[in-house]
Amino acid sequence: MSQWPITLRRLFAPSLTEGAPPADPAGMAQLAAAVDSAARRRLGRSLALRAVDAGSCNGCELELHALANAFHDLERLGLKFVASPRHADVLLVTGPVTTNMREALHRAIEATPDPKWVVAVGDCAAGTGVFAGAYGVAGPLSSFTQVDLVIPGCPPTPVQLLAGLRCLLEPG
């Protein structure tokens, strides 16, 4: 069988994509405090995201992946994942920042052109989560770099991620 019967049915069936959640008010408040409105205007309403795993258990990555599926369809919001930090406006950092990843993370942040936003995704990046106190953990992220937005959760669900990321698109 070819893919076409399935594709055709999809064309006429109701769309799976759900309405995007509104921007999270807590996130809006954080952003307003962290980034001046001139920079926010310059970043605009279409943003390139780059994910950096700095010690995650990979649970957060699974939910970042789920943003691309038909139910969540991240790209309709003007947000898309890019392959290099050099192309990115936003760094999404997951994990508690391990000692072994600290330098690589630092280089990724340096490689991202200004103005940029750094978003802590998940409880690990927000603090150090369940890995607090481990000898291989150098975090939290906020001790190395300015964190503009925190999306908590272990892992945050795709809907929580969307609500957080939408804050980046709202005019400041």
């Binding site: 069988m1 070819s2 893919q3 019967p5 399935i6 594709t7 799976l16 994910a51 950096v52 795993d53 700095a54 010690g55 995650s56 258990c57 990979n58 649970g59 957060c60 990555e61 699974l62 939910e63 970042l64 992946h65 789920a66 691309a68 599926n69 038909a70 139910f71 994942f81 392959a83 290099s84 930090p85 994990g95 508690p96 391990t98 000692t99 072994n100 990843m101 600290r102 330098e103 690589a104 990724a108 989560g129 369940v130 890995f131 106190g133 481990a134 000898y135 291989g136 953990v137 272990c154 892992p155 669900t157």
Partner: protein, 507 residues
Amino acid sequence: MADDLLTYLAPATIVTWHRPCTRFELDQPAWRLLVERMAEADWSLLGLWADVDWIHMALRDEVEGGVAVASVPVIDGRYPAVSPVRPGAIRLERVIRDLWGHEADGAVDTRPWLDHGRWPDRRPLSPHPVATPPDAPTAEAYAFLPATGDGLHQVPVGPIHAGIIEPGHFRFTANGETVVRLEARLGWLHKGIESLMQGLAPADAARLACRISGDSAVAHALAFARAAEAAADIRPPPRADWLRAVMAELERIANHLGDIGAICNDVAYAFMSAECGVLRERCLRAAAACFGHRLMFDRIVPGGVAGDIDADQVGVLRRLVHGIRPAFRKLIDVYDNQASLADRLVGTGTVRPELVHRFAAGGFVGRASLRAVDARKAAPYPPYDKLDWPIPLFGEGDVNARVWVRIREVEASLDLIDALLDGLPGGPIAVAMPARAGEGLALVEGFRGEIMTWVRLDAAGRVGRCHPRDPSWFQWPLLEAAIEGNIIADFPVCNKSFNCSYAGVDL
């Protein structure tokens, strides 16, 4: 040659508080003889790990099926190496040295593995850590194996990769487009989970077990819980066993669906990725509706499960299974008839059966290369002892074969969930963990393959030592073999077809 593993070890001292398999204490000469014997015997390495002054090794007799743990004391910081006869032990010996400082005499590879020269202390798990000298060589100074020849060049990739993926460094030596050698350098995610677990009550350590590798949260939590329960000599109630299996099969289906889609996506067939993504999302939503968490974190606890499901939730799972089955069948039909997919995936990233056997690799990597071992059947734990299902086996060892193993396993797991819901016993869902000392070993089949977790509980019932061995330990080295002779551009799809865990081996 006639002896099986357990007969061979029988003269050694038996540790009476180790369950369910037997642990034998050997002196160093006896351990040396055991290693010599392993050169000929078909005893696969399940794990190699250290304690304060012991080295433990779990083995399975591939002919008779028996599992045993052999232990040897570390004397003057040294023990006889296993790596000369079991290549799967190479990285494990390097880890033992990095974390504990125990040296393996005769080790095949003495380079560091997890220790990148950046931790505040060397040998952080030993009772006597030493401060890392400020001039310690860091990951950049790591001595990659040399490859010399005309026209060879190196391509370093990582630790950060394009895409939403875990960090690891890959060093390709290529001749034009063709990979001559790949060497992986991992350890970037090392947090120190084993040390964090020490001293915790099993219920708290279980939360860490869940986060060893988030995609295998259920499987790792199950392996930890079963090891802790064996150590404390208790059994969870039957309903807990069955609910655990429902979660484990749901996790397997969700991950396989994600992998099948991602593999196709890596050869630019986005249709499959989109369709599998929809089915995967349906699984995660059902998991959230029935178990309260999309990835089922913290649902399995030592002693049982954290929550029960009611008739409505059983209905949700039934509808999920009955919805996925026909949709998946159509997708498989598409996969099977797409010439462009066959062109890219057949014959790509081949691993020979002998190599899979030498490393005792399990899961889809093993079963795509004729190694059928599945922990659910090899030493059936409840409720799998009451169920039957086919174990898919392919011999080609390529990306396509690894996809087909996953396809067949999705089908089998859908049927298993139906059977589990049919047979779901009533009764309580958990028992209390007693404060009791003991040691336990558990073997659990995660979606990647066999997880081995070993737990020692102290007299207060707290975790004295825990070692979780992810299936990826024995699969990562095979990826290096699979890519040889392939083009660099096919590395992502080969890598995806293995889908080894980075977090699970870095710990």
